[in-house]
């Protein structure tokens, strides 16, 4: 994979395959994906439930649930280091330090019975980056994410925080050690809409201040439009399209992408029934040989069912790529 854009590539995933070995067979949750994230950019990874977005992120963290799940193939390069070759100990040094993560539901991502201070402190304690007292550092974390009166709130328990505040705390923890990559796994799904936009703004601000790259995993296209600079669309374990945000919304190349965009309601525009893509995504136990979207695609041809399309570059400068026979 040649990336001609000169910004330094922070994370590169090559041919990653993460499978789950279950009694009913092998579930190919992530089946050979390539992607790259440059320093300091916000990349959206969109796709419906079960398309392998979260497993991709867990693979990067090397936290795929064992013993069922396993990374069978591929490389995950953080600069030039392959994360898949790291020992458990080295991996722990990287987690929370160079790569960090925000999870979906803030109310359950904090341990309800430990003080917030203790949990934030854990991020520092393990990585032994202490300047000033631990208390001060924890207060700073909360200050950073605009939690009001941090000196007092630090002594509180997570259940005393609202959902949005909890997510702020989690984001604060995520960026506390100024990681190079922050993986946000649907950070706004559990929040209501006004809080969502606050959190997104916060993340954007934080990204500008720390220069961390963010991999934003979501199924909400509005979120992507709001903060991402590039989008990758995932379908049934594979990435079908990679595009800059504007190109993606204006001229989506893959039928699945255009389907997704068409199914978003537009404010002020009267539509009848919303567009929906017919059918269900294929079973990952036994994915079809050809394009995985072929059975639901209204433009599918014979070859689509037979062979998986190669990745085609549509626009070299904008780095717009698609895996679809329509464009070959």
């Amino acid at each position: 994979m040649t990336d001609t854009i000169n910004k330094e590539i922070l994370l590169q995933i090559q041919g990653l395959k993460t499978y789950f070995f279950t009694k009913r067979g092998v579930v190919k949750a992530v089946d050979g994906i390539d992607l790259s994230i440059r320093r300091g950019e916000i990349v959206g990874l969109v796709g419906e439930s079960g398309s392998g977005k979260s497993i991709t992120s867990l693979s990067i963290m090397r936290l795929v649930p064992k013993p069922a799940g396993e990374i069978v193939e591929g490389k995950i390069l953080l600069y030039n280091e392959n994360l898949l070759e790291k020992s458990a100990e080295e991996m722990r040094q990287i987690r929370g330090n160079r790569i960090s993560m925000i999870l979906q539901d803030p109310m359950v991502s904090l341990n309800q019975i430990l003080r917030v201070e203790y949990q934030i402190g854990e991020v520092f304690r393990f990585h032994k980056k202490t300047n000033g007292s631990l208390r001060e550092m924890c207060v700073n974390v909360l200050k950073n994410v605009k939690v009001p009166s941090p000196e007092l709130r630090i002594r509180d328990y997570p259940f005393q925080f609202s959902g949005g505040m909890c997510q702020r705390v989690v984001i604060g923890m995520g960026i506390a050690n100024s990681p190079e990559l922050l993986i946000a796994d649907e950070p706004t799904t559990a929040l209501d809409v006004t809080i969502q936009s606050q959190i997104l703004q916060l993340m954007k601000r934080v990204q500008q201040e720390t220069g961390a790259a963010i991999l934003m995993i979501t199924h909400d296209l509005a979120t992507v439009a709001q903060i991402c600079s590039r989008v990758m669309v995932m379908y049934a374990g594979r990435i079908v399209e990679k595009a800059p945000v504007h190109t993606f919304y204006k001229t989506p190349a893959h039928p699945y992408s255009s389907g997704l965009i068409k199914s978003v309601p537009v404010l002020g525009k009267k539509t009848g029934r919303l567009f929906s893509i017919e059918g269900q995504p294929p079973s990952l136990l036994d994915p079809p040989a050809g394009c995985r979207f072929a059975s639901r695609c209204d433009q599918a041809e014979e070859i689509c069912h037979r062979e998986y399309p190669p990745e085609v570059t549509l626009d070299e400068n904008a780095n717009h790529r698609v895996s679809c026979w329509l464009h070959t």
Partner: protein
């Protein structure tokens, strides 16, 4: 093994404070702490001039020995008070002993899973298939009877119950996102186990321990009664019953009062344990 309550039973709407249970338990604890000042005599104090005196309200009794005296003229009331300390001390020591083993085993089993889990759980099955009292008798006869033996024996016999419950709790807590996040923050397994999982099972443990103290009191009393536990002249309740047994026709008070003491202590701890379980159950609290 510890919870045999019907799970389908509709939940009580209101939690009444169990006055009886709390009275018994606090009375018991009061005696444990202040017994030395309350007891009119020491537990080894004997007086041959007042042997086998009946309780004060029976003919021939006197207020100098409220609950009567035994064959050596020792004051039953005083010995009961001193005995409370023995009972609690032994019960607590037992629980501390096997609670620690059980919790560690349970955490390892639940958290690490895989082969570790299997080995520990099969070991538990094996252990639990042996009746505790038989196991205790075998071990005591090997090591010789004493208070320390009782602690060790009961400790060795009791850990699987704790291990299983802790494992179960651990399995469900492990699924939480905060465990994942702790991993993301770079915590080690050991740290997650003890500083994230353990505090979450503390509630269950408190209930378990409270309910268990009652059982331990019975078990140690049983061992003492069989002559396998504490040895004379300790004022252990079980031992007192054992010693009084031979005079049961002429001096009923030697058996009845220690028996009542055991009953009240155990009943109290059980009631309080049940109550604690209800008020500490997070499912019953508002989310």
């Amino acid at each position: 093994m510890f919870f045999k309550k019907n799970r389908n039973k509709p939940k009580k709407v209101k939690n009444r404070i169990p006055v009886v249970g709390i009275t018994f338990v606090s009375g018991f604890l009061f005696l444990v702490v202040f017994g030395n000042w309350i007891a009119p005599y020491g537990y080894e104090h004997w007086d041959m001039t007042s042997m086998m005196m009946p309780p004060a309200w029976v003919d021939g009794g006197s207020m100098t020995h409220v609950l009567g005296t035994d064959a050596l003229g020792r004051d039953v009331f005083s010995r009961l008070i001193h005995g409370s300390r023995f009972s609690l001390l032994i019960a607590v020591a037992c629980i501390a002993c096997y609670g620690t083993i059980g919790v560690i085993m349970g955490l390892l089993s639940g958290f690490i899973g895989g082969i570790t889990d299997m080995v520990i759980m099969r070991l538990c099955d094996l252990w639990m298939s042996m009746p505790a009292i038989i196991l205790a008798i075998i071990l005591v006869s090997l090591m010789g009877p004493s208070a320390l033996t009782v602690v060790i024996v009961v400790g060795v016999a009791g850990w699987p119950g704790y291990a299983r419950i802790v494992r179960g709790e651990c399995l469900s807590i492990k699924q939480n996102d905060f465990i994942k996040l702790a991993r993301v923050a770079g915590c080690s397994n050991l740290r997650i186990m003890f500083s994230h999982v353990f505090p979450n099972i503390a509630n269950t443990l408190i209930v378990l321990v409270t309910l268990n103290i009652g059982q331990m009191i019975i078990l140690t009393a049983t061992l003492s009664f069989l002559g396998l536990g504490t040895q004379p002249p300790s004022p252990d309740w079980g031992l007192m019953m054992n010693e009084g047994r031979q005079y049961i026709n002429s001096a009923w008070w030697l058996v009845v009062f220690p028996g009542l003491a055991i009953l009240m202590a155990v009943l109290g701890f059980n009631i309080v344990g049940d109550w604690l379980r209800e008020i500490l159950d997070p499912k019953q609290r508002l989310r």
